[in-house]
């Protein structure tokens, strides 16, 4: 039994066990993530759902190495991560951020933004690679030397996705990649992500508060509340509306739109 779960973890693209993340020290310490465990298989899309402040983005930041004060085990492709990330890690795992207006350097052209990771890691034939990547995310070569302020939100997010793909990673961490965009652009970006996943054989970990986005994109999901995973299920179970935990039922009800009775019945779970 134990041996087989070890094997499962070895095969997973990303495995997380007993992850705790804390911010601050002493009395002001915030325990943002509590004892979170899950595993994501290769080629899978795994969703993390929860309300604001449930710690779902913090899990991603801990994986990426941006939140440093964590305990537990994070393994990528069977390799345990230490406190410092290596160049090999950055070539395996990349992240797309929530706000495309904040994730691109305002004084760098698209060309520089895309070229920088290539120069750091010594990617060969950078010029062609940049043009190819732009085409991959649906932007023409005329965008190459523009500055972020000349781009719309959707175009910026495409650039951010292209940047994440520059090092040909295997795992993409998507931190609410569409929540800052309008609805029509959201759909375009989600479809783009689906296509890129097929073409590049990527594994996604998608964080969102939007159950519809998760249902569209993911195979399995974990529901987070107050720093804990309250439930893990497949999207099919979600679609059949058979979540077992009451918090998930409440989240599902809330996602169906505003309903007076549902609002009155809202509970807090801690």
């Amino acid at each position: 039994m134990r041996a087989s779960s070890e094997i499962a973890l070895q095969q997973a693209a990303l495995a997380i066990e007993h992850l705790d993340v804390r911010f601050g020290k002493g009395d002001e310490m915030v325990h943002a993530v509590r004892d979170v465990s899950f595993a994501v298989d290769r080629g899978e899309s795994f969703g993390l759902v929860g309300e604001s402040g449930s710690g779902k983005s913090t899990v991603l930041r801990a994986i990426a190495g941006l939140a440093t004060d964590w305990t537990g085990r994070i393994a990528v492709e069977g390799q345990n991560l230490g406190p410092k990330r290596t160049a090999a890690f950055y070539e395996t795992v990349q992240m797309v951020f929530q706000d495309p207006y904040g994730s691109l350097h305002p004084r760098h052209t698209v060309d520089r933004t895309l070229g920088e990771p290539g120069r750091i890691h010594g990617v060969a034939d950078l010029d062609t690679r940049i043009v190819d990547l732009l085409r991959d995310v649906g932007l023409g070569p005329e965008f190459r030397f523009r500055y972020p302020h000349q781009l719309s939100g959707g175009q910026r997010q495409r650039v951010a996705i292209a940047r994440a793909l520059m090092l040909e990673p295997k795992i993409l961490l998507l931190d609410e990649p569409t929540s800052a965009l309008d609805v029509s652009v959201q759909a375009e970006i989600l479809n783009l992500l689906q296509r890129l996943k097929r073409e590049h054989g990527l594994t996604y970990v998608l964080v969102s508060h939007d159950l519809a986005v998760i249902a569209h994109m993911c195979d399995r999901l974990a529901v987070m509340n107050a720093g804990r995973v309250v439930e893990e299920m497949t999207v099919d179970q979600l679609r059949r509306s058979e979540p077992s935990h009451r918090y998930t039922q409440q989240l599902l009800k809330a996602s169906l739109g505003y309903d007076r009775a549902a609002v009155d019945a809202l509970e807090t779970f801690d």
Partner: protein, 310 residues
Amino acid sequence: MTHHAVSAPGHRGLHAWLTSDSPTSRLQARCVQVYLGWLGLARNPLAMLGLGIVVVLVLAAIFAPLLAPADPIAQDLTRRLQPPGAPGFVLGSDELGRDILSRLLYGARVTLYVVALVVVTAPVFGLIIGTVAGYAGGWVDTVLMRFTDVFLAFPRLVLALAFVAALGPGIGNAVLAIALTSWPPYARIARAETLTIRNSDFIAAIRLQGASPLRIVIGHVMPLCISSVIVRVTLDMAGIILTAAGLGFLGLGAQPPLPEWGAMISTGRQFILDQWWVATVPGLAIFTVSLGFNLLGDGLRDALDPRSGR
């Protein structure tokens, strides 16, 4: 197609090339950025007045030997303290019979020399200290900022006086003294900007690409701090000129017979009631140049502000 449009001769072609919203090379992207910044600055008449004054100062300094009607240190004791308009002296002569206009033109060189040397040292040093302190945080930040506070605690002219007194008078030591006392504000500005930048997503993104702290500070943090530092430098320029003039006035800056504006005022002081022009003319020059730099700085602040939407 596009190449044809780019190489099309004439003003229109160049203008289109400079305002293109889809540049075709890194060089063009940079030129467009500079040109749009220039257009923003050119819309501000006061800033253009300031720029004009600064350009005149630079031209005066470069072409002083051609423009000056006389040798700035040639004395003619038979024709001392001539009023402006006297034959041979457009702006009059001083107590040793030297032509004030010529001294003024050559004095522009001294002023520009001081300004240029301070500008290439103090802001650069301040920028490095500030961005490193802000980005590194922790004890590095504490040590560097306390070090900055020590320099910030001294009144500028007093510390400059102490330096010059210790190192001996002279224009080089005056520059050193001014540079040593003027970098702390730049460090403070750069640190404050860095603190707002370092937690942004684009810095997190580049960290995730595996960039070293050095690359992040130089390539990503500094370009965003530089515009506020440049603005502050142009606004401080007046203060730098005044400090240099003040040291010259006290006899601790440029030494005679070097035509330095502050030293010129200092000697003119003795005749201020009867021969007012000896002190007034260099005083007006200092005033005009200080005003020019201030107006330019104000305009640059509006044109370079990274938070303005452009």
